[in-house]
């Protein structure tokens, strides 16, 4: 890519960004769009309107908001996300301030390589002047680059250490809070052995825990297999919704001149397309009555007969719950496993019934599957695209035959089918990884998000970054590296400089277009208006149509980490990338701050448990960078380049020390934190009820049947 096309691409992206900004300023002011631009405020009962009509007022608001605002409006997890953004931003600014004024002049004034290298990469670009590749081999000027690598690394250590400490404090402050939080009073007990003859599960669990915690044990809730009852309950909910819609339609039809109105009808067959035509309201009422009694019967059966070997155990005291979750209860680790419980609504009930061995086997199987996906993801795509040739498609879907016979369409389709397969695969990947993470048997939604985010990080960094750099999938390269194990760093180092401009453009595109779209919320806006006009009949449906969703950390973090990895790896080789990276994280901080304050509604709160993951992946990116630099100095024939070798080792020691010092508090609740006084005595009845799954929650049935 030469200089002019680089400028063109940058300009286009910037133009798009300006358009998005203007659009946002214009559209977000209109009251009918407030539900798209201020849903978080609306849902919390705050006024949605901005104070001024200044189109940039949101920047000021975002900038002046404090961490406490974020925590109160969007939770600890969001605050931790901003710590990550600001750490990355500060790191890049600190690096940029030192590296740009020192390294750029050094490389521009070096003319030793121009002659030999001019034609090597086809086109010589003006941008190459600013990069390390412009320095002659073995030149003493490389000392400056060596020092730069140390500068970036040491700055990262310092900032990450500070950030870990800060996040630890945020977490402690949130956990210390005198508010009653249900999850702090309960623990999850799994792998309960088969009870003795004539003893119910409930009795077994109660007597076990009463013996250990005679004073603070409150009661227990035996987990049941809710698959059946949940299915019925969901069907019932569907009909209730349908009934509400039908009644709204009926009421609407009444007002227009015709006082008796038209009763809505539907067909009972497949997708409402065929079958008998019935009155929807009557039909739904009938179905609801039928399902209600079915539900009640199934609820009783579930509670009586479908108990599994897990339970939620409640304590009247936070300290005991916190220490129980950390202590070994039974002699064998595979019985009476006690662990922290997440918030009630993020419990994944169907995973609670898995026993220890199932969980372990699933976990390692899924690690293996994910490793296969990461290394060999090109293979299934190749197979899919090989089998989805046009001939096969025509056989499957005969009606497309006439279209396919047009020569032009045929050519295009044949050329793009493999790419389409790849795009579909990549689009489905996060969902697939989330599904796999949940299949591991993880009991909480937020933990599953962390697990999926970790998997996606490895996929994206390994395949996108290394893949683009070296070309081809990891598997192809892996075959080559088998013969020469130290070759990975070399190959990466050899190929990095050629791709500097590509990644510069990539980062710029990501922040201009990515954050432009994010802020202007064009897609949700359009979808909302379409839904509102054509689909929504009731208030609830409208509300559902503008529901903003949450941050989707599972894909957001890995995407940010990719930018961070790219910027870090190029920071010394092509320092021009640093300002781009800094803008990405700086702009991201401002835009996401706005989104956190006004748009997204968190679905769970894990009190910053995401941080250790971010921290270790940040360090993984740093190690990748340091290893690449070892290889690159080798290629530049700079003998003192070996001085970089201690850096990856230092990073590993740093990771080890941080892990030792901070991690345990992120895994468990420290007792000194849990022992603070509460605002009020917890209403244990309410705490207990909050954990009842909705499908079992009618008339406190659970309660009474459960107490055998």
């Amino acid at each position: 890519m030469d200089f002019s096309s680089f400028v063109t691409s940058l300009g286009t992206s910037f133009l798009l960004f300006v358009v998005f900004m203007l659009l946002f300023a214009w559209v977000s002011g209109k009251p009918e769009n407030h539900v798209i631009y201020y849903p978080n405020r609306i849902l919390r009962g705050l006024s949605p309107t901005p104070r001024t009509r200044n189109p940039l007022s949101w920047v000021k608001e975002a900038y002046s908001s404090t961490e406490d605002d974020i925590i109160s409006l969007s939770g600890v997890d969001s605050a931790v996300y901003f710590v990550f953004l600001s750490t990355a931003f500060t790191m890049l600014v600190v690096s940029g301030i030192a590296l740009l004024p020192s390294l750029l002049p050094i490389s521009i004034t070096d003319h030793s390589i121009r002659l030999e290298n001019t034609t090597s990469n086809g086109t010589f670009s003006e941008l190459d002047k600013f990069s390390m590749g412009h320095i002659g081999k073995g030149s003493p000027r490389l000392w400056a680059y060596l020092i730069a690598v140390y500068w970036v690394s040491l700055a990262t250590y310092y900032l990450l250490w500070k950030a870990y400490k800060h996040v630890s404090e945020i977490r402690a402050t949130a956990l210390v809070s005198p508010e009653v939080r249900e999850a702090q009073f309960a623990v999850l007990v799994r792998d309960i052995p088969v009870p003795l003859e004539g003893e119910s599960r409930k009795e077994q669990i109660n007597s076990y825990f009463k013996a250990i915690y005679p004073d603070t044990f409150y009661r227990s809730m035996v987990v049941t297999d809710n698959k059946e009852v949940n299915k019925i309950w969901e069907e019932l909910e569907k009909y209730r919704k349908k009934l509400a819609t039908a009644e709204a339609v009926y009421a609407q039809s009444k007002t227009i001149g015709m006082p008796e109105g038209t009763k809505p009808t539907n067909r009972t067959g497949f997708l409402g397309l065929c079958g008998k035509k019935v009155d929807t309201i009557d039909y739904c009422n009938e179905k609801i009555t039928e399902l209600s009694s079915k539900l009640e019967a199934e609820q009783k059966v579930t509670l009586r007969e479908k108990q599994v070997g897990s339970a939620l155990v409640f304590f009247t005291n936070r300290v005991n719950a916190a220490s129980a979750a950390q202590s070994l209860h039974a002699r064998m680790v595979d019985t009476w496993t006690v662990m922290d419980v997440p918030e009630p609504h993020q419990l994944i009930w169907r995973n609670l019934s898995l026993n220890y061995y199932e969980r372990e086997v699933r976990k390692y199987t899924i690690y293996f599957v994910v490793a296969l996906i990461i290394f060999f993801f090109m293979i299934p795509i190749a197979i899919i695209s090989a089998s989805t040739t046009l001939q096969n498609l025509v056989k499957l879907l005969p009606f497309i035959k006439p279209i396919v016979e047009i020569a032009a369409v045929r050519t295009v389709l044949e050329a793009y089918l493999p790419q389409i397969a790849l795009i579909v695969f990549l689009a489905l990947l996060p969902t697939m990884l989330m599904f796999l993470s949940k299949a591991e048997g993880i009991p909480s939604e937020s933990h599953a998000v962390r697990a999926a985010s970790g998997k996606y990080f490895y996929f994206i960094v390994l395949n996108v970054f290394i893949g683009v750099t070296i070309g081809g999938s990891l598997y192809d390269n892996f075959k080559e590296f088998q013969h020469n194990p130290t070759g990975i760093a070399d190959t990466l180092a050899r190929n990095l400089p050629d791709n500097a401009t590509f990644f510069l453009t990539f980062v710029a595109l990501r922040f201009f277009v990515g954050y432009g779209l994010e802020l202007s919320r064009l897609v949700p806006l359009i979808i909302f208006h379409l839904k509102k006009r054509y689909l929504c009949k009731t208030e609830a449906e409208v509300k559902e149509a503008w529901a903003p969703g949450d941050f989707r950390y599972a894909t957001r973090f890995p995407a940010d980490m990719l930018i961070l990895t790219v910027t870090l790896c190029y920071s010394v080789i092509a320092p021009l990338i640093i300002p781009f990276g800094a803008v990405y994280f700086g702009l991201g901080w401002i835009v996401m701050r706005n989104q956190a304050l006004k748009v997204y509604v968190p679905t769970f709160e894990s009190y910053g448990r995401m941080w250790p993951h971010i921290h270790s992946r940040f360090l993984a990116a740093l190690v990748l960078y340091q290893v690449t630099m070892v290889g690159y100095f080798g290629l530049r024939l700079f003998p003192y380049g070996a001085l970089v070798i201690p850096l990856p080792i230092m990073s590993l020691i740093f990771a080890f020390v941080c892990n030792k010092k901070f991690y345990r508090f992120f895994k468990h609740t420290a007792l000194e934190v849990a022992c603070r006084d509460l605002q009020e005595n917890p209403n244990m009845e309410r705490v207990y009820d909050s954990f009842c799954p909705p499908c079992l929650n009618s008339d406190k049935l659970y309660d009474h049947v459960g107490d055998a």
Copy 2:
């Protein structure tokens, strides 16, 4: 070694064993020797005499004793040691029953190799007929050996699994015991931060724990730096002992015709050799008065000013103490570290003052030092022996000059000096490893023993076994392996068969002579009688002279493990070794049973915490064996030998699963075990006092000053 010399050596060993047995039967019956052969029973107030005069009655007694007898007379740790012995024995018997009748005929009837191999190792021995080396290369008969490897491995997995389960039960039963055990009511708190201005340590600790455990916190004992006070106390004790001796001597001298007696005297100078001559009794009394007041002053200073950031915290309840030791108390792992406390007398007080970072740094430094010792132990010995030439010795010790000048002595000395250096090094090694383990900052004696035993195991297996087999120290071989990393298994496999006879003799020597000496206790007997006659004046001194000591696990386990490793590695290559190994562990079981019941007095009780170490080292030996077999099958050009490769992987998975399932209970006390009712309410005053170090224990001074 040819067949006849093998038989000679075996015969000699057996003869020695018979002599030891007869000696034991004769000497142990004499009442004046009872303190040597029954000290454990005497100290527990049981009758020392055996019931019959039958010289083999001890075998019956040992054999018929139950595990409960062992636990009550010698503690859980001994019982666990017997589980190890019987597991190794059963494993070898099970292997022998299958392997001997099948493999021996197969190798004897194979004649394919005799011709080619007859002269290869210098002398062809009859014993080689029974080994795998006798089978022709690539012969299908090797299938039998392949199956044998699987048989031995599977038997080991099964037996180890059963043993781990059994030991886990023994531990649980012991911990459940309704007796009040002091250590179960206390925890050790380290890394306490600096208290606030105007707050004493005691107040700080009490308020911290009272907040978390308002109902069950009893009180705390701040750890002090006792170095000074301990020195004074030890000196005081020395003089008290001396006084008692002097008084005994004086009293003795009175009875013999001279009613006023002779007052014993001594010189006050160096070693009692020079200086002023004084009356011992007066001198000691004077010194005791002087030191007592000094001790009292120092005690006060210590308690007031030498408090360190550690404390023992007492609870009125076992469950809380057990769960506190497992829970995270502070947000940062490097403050308020809470851990289990060992029995009072095995607390290593001087290690309690080390903080988190000192402990971590020491630990890794010592790991590094030990690794150096294991790999390069030949180097310091070479240096020492190079510097301890005769010339240097003469310079150092001029008085040996006349002796050295005799030609014969000179030759012998010059030839043996390096070996003497090696022997001295090997003799000092266990002490050195124990010292290093304690220097890690481990707070309990039993833990230090485990750590030292682990270090010694690696040294002995790597250097003795691999060293003898391949020849030369690890370092020499390591240089070779650098060029060919897969060569270790090959080299080991190539060299093993040549040393089969050597190790057969070695094992035989170990059990005949080793257990003969162990049972007959010749050395302690002689030392005791010498001491009694020439040194002991008081009852206390006599008692000290026959004090039997404990099992010395730190060297006993590694020695047993060496035999086990040797037997395992040869089990298929030269199955003749199996009966020898079986006899070693069988005889060991009987002999040590006798020693546990009658002789040794355990100095600590760790409730079987040794087992996970034994288990993982047992598996390490198995993996070494399996890897060797992979190499050996390769050498025998047997293509299906690759089928052995899954075995080491299986072993690692087995180790991982066992670790997951059982280990946590050995690290911590399970709460279901701690919550059992006690026989009586614990006398907390007594529990607290038992932890006072003896040097601070006068007049409960500790108690009162401590409570600021």
